[in-house]
Structures are given as structure tokens and as C-alpha cells.
Amino acid sequence: MNYDVQSRLPAEISRQLSDAEREELAARLAVQDRLAAHLRTLPHRNEEPSLAVSLERER
């Protein structure tokens, strides 16, 4: 995983981060990327429509 915060943020925002924020964000991204990886362990997710489609169908 890449926790180079700089490369994942828009430049106009990245340059405003303090060092402390950069460090905290990197730690949080490690957790967030684990959450995203966890979602990819759910089987059959590719068979599903988006929620918006589901709601529209029910109306």
C-alpha cells in the first residue's frame, strides 16, 4: 500500500497540510485501505446493482 499522502491528494490541498496532519492522515489511510480490502472479500458483490437502481425499482 502507498501511504505517500502527497500523491493521493489534490495539489492545492496537499500543500496546506502540516507535518502532524500528514502523519495522522497516513495512519488513518492505513486503516481505511484495510476497510476497502475487507469489502473486496465479500463474495457475489459484482452481481449487485447500485442502491440507486434498487430504490428506483421499488417506486
Partner: protein, 465 residues
């Protein structure tokens, strides 16, 4: 406290209709109470005393002329400060919008005005609705009416504590992960998040468009039902507002729960939980069984994926909405909200779409369970209100920041778009506990019917000392 302020919205409404109390008297009583108590609670950002008194005089004159608009006629209410109000500043609890004055009302504000409600002002909240403590760095922290050393919950913290302490007879909040139900539960009042699409969000500042809902906070279930009735329905200005029929939510509240089949999901909601919260929720559930409901444990194994999907969706959508403002006004965002937005900016489109797909799978599992059951029962928040500034909470051996617990039980119903209410059901450490009831899409009527049965079982309102 003025005895008038101990009435529920519906009780006040009956007094007004019978012309035993005037809208002007009720409004003056609320404004006096705000002056007396809001120095402590900090629930209002803006009090619109002059326009409220003018509206109250008009509603009083209408009654004298024989015109009664309905249950909200002359009833003083207040709005979370993210509903656009023409000519009145709308801050979203932020420094960026500190002086922003919209030129139009949100659809729901217009509907409340048309229903005859008096609007007392704009309520304090977690900045941009992106948090659950309402410890606002720009307008000061909202305090819990039951113990001012504790948080009111959030993000609609002002909306809940003002209702609990008699500063208004009801309020509107918004709920993206539990922002109506969490503070309502911690402050001992009723909160309802309806089905996604039931209430227009036109003119409501967004946090996360696929998760945001608008709903009422009130002292009783009947009060919440009356407010829901007034603001629900199709709105061409909101692409997500449904053309679903709006039933009379107040008419079958007392139908009872005999024969209703209610599910207790065994995963997620009951652990970790503070033991007194668990006991209070279980006692209320036993009360529903005594009243004739059939309660059964069920399994929802895909719930395990709900928190991750919710977190990725809310952060992505919020960051997309705020990106330009954050770049232009970086230092004006509070530290906690800014960090969550930065996280959101780092989520890839692929991960966001995966979260939306997982969301559909979780929703399907919930809907399948609701083929056999009329609703779900869970504790609303697994802990009582934490202290202001508290960094971590320890429950059943798990130590985590308050946010981990505050929205844990409510957010699955934002992810699935199902209607969910909280109703006070007891006390833990002397602080209010709520029971959450969720139901089938568009079936707020049954959710409210079950909540009403809990209210009847408990009989006494949970009021601040």
C-alpha cells in the same frame, strides 16, 4: 419551568385549537426558556425572536378568524442550522458559512411554515454534520440537558437537547449515519429517520447525498408522527424524493403490537454494549412481548461489512462536496472534520463503487429478513452520553473513541435506506437510553406504532432533572 413547556407538541396543539393557549403565549414561553437555559446548553446558533413573535401574532389572528391550519398551527419549532432559511443565516455549524444568508427556504421549511409552525431559530450542530459529538469549535459545544458536562450527541445535538429541555416543541434534524437518532437517544427524546426519499432534501446542505435523510426530533412519538406528516411527500426540486403516497402517520399509533413479528439481529448491535444500556433495551423488548408482539432472534451475517461500506461512502461523498471549499478555506475547517475530508479525498473511485455494491448486498439481506418480520429492534446507542472532551470509551474490554460507539447501531439503516426511530426506554448511569425500531421501506407507520407501544409501556417521559 413554565407548565406550558411541559406539554407535548400534540397537547399544546389541542390547547391552541381550543383557544385556551395562544400561539403568542407559547412562543413567548419558549423564548423566555431559551433566554434562561441556552447560556448553558448552547443549543441555538441564531434565535429569530422578532420574526417568531410576528409569526405567532399572525397565527393567533388566524385562529381568532376561525382558520386552523392543522396540528402544527401556532406550535414553536426550531431547525438544525443546515436547512436553508430565506433571510436568516444558515451556517451548517461552520466558520466558512458563518455569515451566509440564503434567499430561499428549504422545501421542508416552507412546508412547516405552510402548516402554521412558528420557527424560533437555527440550532447548533456538529460542523457540517460530519461528526457525532456536536462539540463545535466555531459556535461552542452543545451540552446535554440531562447533564451539561456530557455531550448531546450529534450531529443534530442542538435539535435534541433543545427539545429535551423545553426550548421548543419539536425540531428538524438530518441523519447520515445516525445524526437524528444518536442525539435523540442520548437526550431522552424521540427521533425518526424516515425511508430514503420520503422527505425532500432540497435546500438542505448535504453531507453525503446517498446517505442523507431529514427527519423530526420530538418529545413523544405522536409529536414526531405529526411533524413527519407535515413535511413528507414528493418534491420536484429533489431528484431523490419519491412519489410514494404519504399515509396519515398519526392515525394508527395506538393499534398495538399484538401479532407483530419483530426481529432481534444477534450480530453487531449487542456487543460491545454497556450492560445497563443492554438491560434497559431488553426490558423494553420484554414489554413489547407482554403486549403481544412475537420477538425472535435472527442472523444478519453481512452486517459485518456495513461499517466499512458506510465509512467509505460517507467520506467519499463528503469530500467530493467540500473539495473546493476545503482548498480555499483550509484553516477555517475544524481539525476533526478536516481530517475526515482529507481521508475521503484519498478514496479511489474503485473503492467507492465497491462500497456501493456491498451496500446493495447488505440491503438485500435486510429486505429478505423483512419478508418474515415487521421490524428490527436494537439499542439505539450502545453507551450513555460520554463526557465532553472524552477521548476514549471502554466497554466490555474494548477501548475506542466515542464516535466508534455513537453511530455504530444507527448507520446500518442509512446504508440500507430503511426507516428507523429511537424512543426512550430507560436509564443507564442515570442517563437516557433509547430503543431503535427499524422497518420496511415506506412503512414508517408500523415503526411509529411499535415506538408508541414502547412509550406506553414506559408510561413516564424521561425528562431532565
Amino acid at each position: 419551568m413554565n407548565a406550558l413547556l411541559t406539554l407535548s407538541l400534540m397537547e399544546l396543539s389541542a390547547e391552541i385549537r381550543a383557544r385556551r393557549v395562544s400561539p403568542l403565549e407559547a412562543t413567548e414561553a419558549c423564548l423566555h426558556r431559551i433566554g434562561e437555559r441556552d447560556g448553558v446548553l448552547n443549543s441555538f446558533i441564531t434565535v429569530t425572536a422578532d420574526s417568531a413573535l410576528a409569526e405567532a401574532r399572525q397565527r393567533t389572528e388566524e385562529l381568532a378568524a376561525g382558520r386552523w391550519r392543522g396540528p402544527l398551527h401556532g406550535v414553536p419549532l426550531a431547525l438544525k442550522d443546515l436547512f436553508l432559511t430565506a433571510g436568516v443565516r444558515t451556517t451548517s455549524g461552520s466558520a466558512v458559512l458563518r455569515d451566509w444568508v440564503p434567499d430561499r427556504d428549504a422545501t421542508v421549511v416552507r412546508r412547516l411554515r405552510d402548516a402554521g409552525a412558528i420557527l424560533l431559530g437555527k440550532l447548533n450542530m456538529h460542523e457540517h454534520a460530519f461528526g457525532a459529538t456536536s462539540e463545535n469549535p466555531h459556535f461552542g459545544p452543545v451540552r446535554n440537558a440531562h447533564d451539561p458536562e456530557r455531550i448531546a450527541g450529534g450531529s443534530s445535538g442542538g435539535s435534541a437537547t433543545a427539545v429535551a429541555d423545553g426550548l421548543c416543541f419539536g425540531s428538524l434534524g438530518s441523519d447520515t449515519g445516525g445524526s437524528i437518532r444518536c442525539p435523540a437517544s442520548l437526550c431522552g427524546v424521540v427521533g425518526l429517520k424516515p425511508t430514503y426519499g420520503r422527505i425532500s432534501r432540497a435546500g438542505v446542505l448535504p453531507l453525503s447525498w446517498s446517505l442523507d435523510h431529514v427527519g423530526p426530533i420530538a418529545r413523544t412519538v405522536a409529536d414526531a408522527a405529526a411533524m413527519l406528516e407535515a413535511v413528507s411527500g414528493y418534491d420536484s426540486a429533489d431528484a431523490t424524493a419519491a412519489k410514494e403516497r404519504v399515509p396519515p402517520f398519526t392515525s394508527r399509533l395506538d393499534a398495538g403490537v399484538r401479532g407483530l413479528r419483530l426481529a432481534l439481529p444477534r450480530e453487531h448491535f449487542w456487543r460491545p454494549i454497556q450492560p445497563q444500556v443492554r438491560d434497559a433495551a431488553l426490558a423494553a423488548i420484554a414489554g413489547l412481548e407482554q403486549a403481544g408482539a412475537v420477538v425472535e432472534e435472527i442472523s444478519l451475517p453481512l452486517l459485518e461489512y456495513a461499517p466499512a461500506a458506510q465509512a467509505l461512502i460517507i467520506c467519499s461523498e463528503a469530500a467530493t462536496y467540500h473539495r473546493e471549499q476545503l482548498a480555499a478555506n483550509y484553516e477555517q475547517y475544524g481539525a476533526d472534520v478536516r481530517m475526515r475530508l482529507l481521508q475521503g479525498l484519498c478514496i479511489s473511485a474503485r473503492d467507492y463503487l465497491d462500497a456501493q455494491r456491498v451496500r446493495a448486498v447488505v440491503r438485500r439481506e435486510f429486505l429478505e429478513a423483512l419478508r418474515d418480520y415487521d421490524g428490527f429492534l436494537t439499542p439505539t446507542v450502545p453507551i450513555p452520553a460520554p463526557k465532553m472532551g472524552q477521548q476514549v470509551v471502554e466497554v466490555e474490554g474494548l477501548t475506542a473513541p466515542p464516535l466508534f460507539f455513537l453511530l455504530r447501531n444507527t448507520s446500518p439503516f442509512n446504508l440500507t435506506g430503511l426507516p428507523a426511530a429511537t424512543v426512550p426506554c430507560g436509564l443507564a448511569d442515570g442517563l437516557p437510553v433509547g430503543l431503535q425500531i427499524a422497518g420496511r421501506p415506506w412503512d414508517e407507520a408500523t415503526v411509529l406504532q411499535i415506538a408508541y407501544a414502547v412509550e406506553q409501556w414506559r408510561s413516564a417521559r424521561i425528562t431532565p432533572a
